[in-house]
């Protein structure tokens, strides 16, 4: 007993905070999601599946969920497509250039999402820089409408999240034996074959891990879709926000949040399982 006491005492303060500030609120939200709401009477303490049924049955919510996960898949795919090659290029750079480029790519992670999203709004807005330039040099006469489109949300989210992909692949690449590429070349493989047969399979765990982070963060993204997607292009996170702070239907908002959380956890867990099963035997 004496040996077991210290670790629990050391963990104690953090555990108490987490129980009081995480477990209790989450459980309360879960309970709240079964309550019902009346526009005049407010929240009623009765219990039922009606909020979940509403989300499952209403095509309005179907569209929102489909849009959210569609965007998540597109963003994840694009991040892998440009982030993985970039990480590889970084790994082949001379040291000075590499640290500069890494600084430029990872640095934005430390800048609030709101600032980065604002940058895109300034670039692609109707009075934005892109339109200003295009009109200025006479390519178009009326501004292109890019704000409030799914495409703009996807591009901006790729911008916000691709550093995670670069970081993830970069970490894997650092574990790669630099001689392995030379070995493949010396055995007669072309540069392309070396990339495809030797480098790519070894960085796949990094790509997959990065994809997981990007996917989960896109599915729960709020600021970027809210600012660049506007009122009409709703995603799950903005819908929950609206239910809470505009419609004031907290129980419905809570059930949307619970569904989002469960969906994320399920995706992360099953994906982790799959990746571990596939690579445990091969890599350390």
């Amino acid at each position: 007993m004496n040996r077991l006491l210290p670790p629990y005492l050391l963990n104690g303060p953090a555990l108490i905070i987490f129980v009081v500030m995480l477990v209790v609120p989450m459980v309360m939200t879960f309970i709240l999601s079964f309550n019902s709401f009346d526009f005049y009477g407010g929240i009623k303490p009765d219990y039922g599946w009606h909020n979940y049924l509403e989300v499952v049955q209403d095509s309005y919510f179907h569209e929102i969920f489909l849009r959210t996960y569609g965007i998540a898949i597109a963003v994840t795919f694009l991040c892998a497509l440009i982030g993985a090659p970039e990480a590889y290029i970084l790994s082949r750079m001379s040291k000075t250039w590499r640290s500069l480029c890494l600084l430029a790519i990872l640095g934005p992670l430390l800048i609030s999402v709101i600032v980065r999203t604002l940058g895109w709004a300034l670039l692609i807005g109707n009075n934005g820089v892109v339109n200003e330039i295009l009109i200025g040099i006479g390519i178009i006469e009326t501004p292109l409408k890019m704000m409030f489109t799914t495409g703009s949300v996807i591009v901006a989210l790729v911008h916000v999240l691709v550093p995670f992909m670069v970081l993830s692949v970069w970490t894997t690449l650092q574990k790669l034996d630099p001689q392995v590429e030379n070995a493949a070349l010396s055995l007669g493989a072309s540069h392309f074959t070396t990339l495809r047969r030797v480098v790519l399979p070894q960085v796949m765990p990094g790509v997959l891990a990065g994809s997981l982070i990007v996917f989960a963060l896109t599915a729960s993204a709020f600021a970027t879709p809210s600012i660049l997607g506007g009122r009409r292009l709703k995603v799950v996170a903005t819908t929950a926000y609206d239910e809470y702070l505009n419609t004031l239907n907290w129980p419905l908002g809570a059930s949307i949040a619970v569904i989002l959380l469960i969906a994320n956890v399920v995706v992360v867990m099953s994906y982790n399982r799959y990746v571990e099963k596939k690579y445990a035997a091969v890599f350390d």
């Binding site: 905070i17 987490f18 209790v24 609120p25």
Partner: protein, 266 residues
């Protein structure tokens, strides 16, 4: 062995376009902030700092900035204070539930911020803590704990324990060993964890949006509210200030820790 750039021209073009993509939005924010016009525009007819001066006429941004700083200072400090003993326990003891407790502390990473916001909103209002500093700090501590813990834990597990044994063999007491050997050895990780926690708290928007009140509004929340109404050069200049401050911090961080190490958590 010296290593040289092994990239071909195509790769270098790719790298250039990629960096352009990453930096363009930030550069545009800074450029627009320096416009001399009264509306959104690139500073074509000369640079002006009028929109930076204008920030001072909007105390709501200045107040929100300071509130964000106080909030981040408080929550990062509490988070690190909780993380150090927790990391010590995990790194130094074997006990039932060790992995589970770690997963528990890391779990906020898996929870979408909007879900945390939803949960904290109703919880704080039922406690009567809505919009209080204590309430916001408590919520932020949970959110940033994983970042603090990851770096502190890495430094505690990565520490050479024989240095502690050496100190003890030279006659140092338990407390002296902790103060003179352990603390200095884990200090880089602890500082890194604190800084990362501070930045995460300072930048947080989504969750804070739910729990902030008019008297306890953070800078990102104030900016979001402003942007949903109007996008003008003022918000660009506020953002530019954030970018400048972050850039200075980033360069210092990179010098001390290496940015990639800090973000990977090793």
């Amino acid at each position: 062995m010296k290593r040289y750039d092994k990239n071909g021209p195509l790769a270098l073009v790719f790298n250039f376009v990629f960096l352009l993509f990453i930096l363009a939005p930030l550069v545009v924010v800074c450029l627009v902030a320096f416009t001399d016009k009264g509306y959104l525009s690139l500073p074509r007819d000369g640079l002006s700092v009028r929109w930076f001066v204008a920030i001072l006429d909007h105390p709501e941004f200045v107040d929100a900035f300071w509130y964000s700083i106080y909030l981040a200072l408080g929550s990062a400090t509490v988070a690190v204070a909780l993380a150090i003993p927790a990391a010590m326990a995990t790194a130094r003891y074997k006990f039932p539930g060790r992995g589970l407790i770690m997963a528990f502390f890391m779990s906020p990473l898996m929870i979408p911020h909007v879900v945390l916001g939803v949960a904290f909103l109703s919880y704080l209002s039922s406690l009567g803590w809505s919009g209080t500093y204590i309430g916001l700090v408590a919520c932020h501590v949970v959110l940033i704990m994983p970042y603090a813990l990851r770096l502190v834990l890495a430094s505690v597990t990565g520490m050479d324990r024989s240095a502690e044994l050496a100190a003890k063999s030279l006659g140092a007491s338990k407390w002296t060993t902790f103060r003179r050997v352990t603390i200095p050895l884990i200090l880089p990780g602890v500082t890194g964890g604190w800084v990362l926690a501070f930045i995460t708290s300072f930048d947080e928007l989504t969750m804070t949006l739910f729990i902030a009140s008019p008297s306890s509004t953070t800078l990102p929340v104030r900016m979001y509210q402003h942007i949903t109404e109007t996008i003008d050069p003022l918000i660009a200049s506020v953002s530019a200030v954030i970018i400048f401050i972050t850039m200075i911090m980033m360069i210092i961080l990179d010098r001390i820790f290496g940015l990639d190490k800090l973000l990977v958590g090793k």
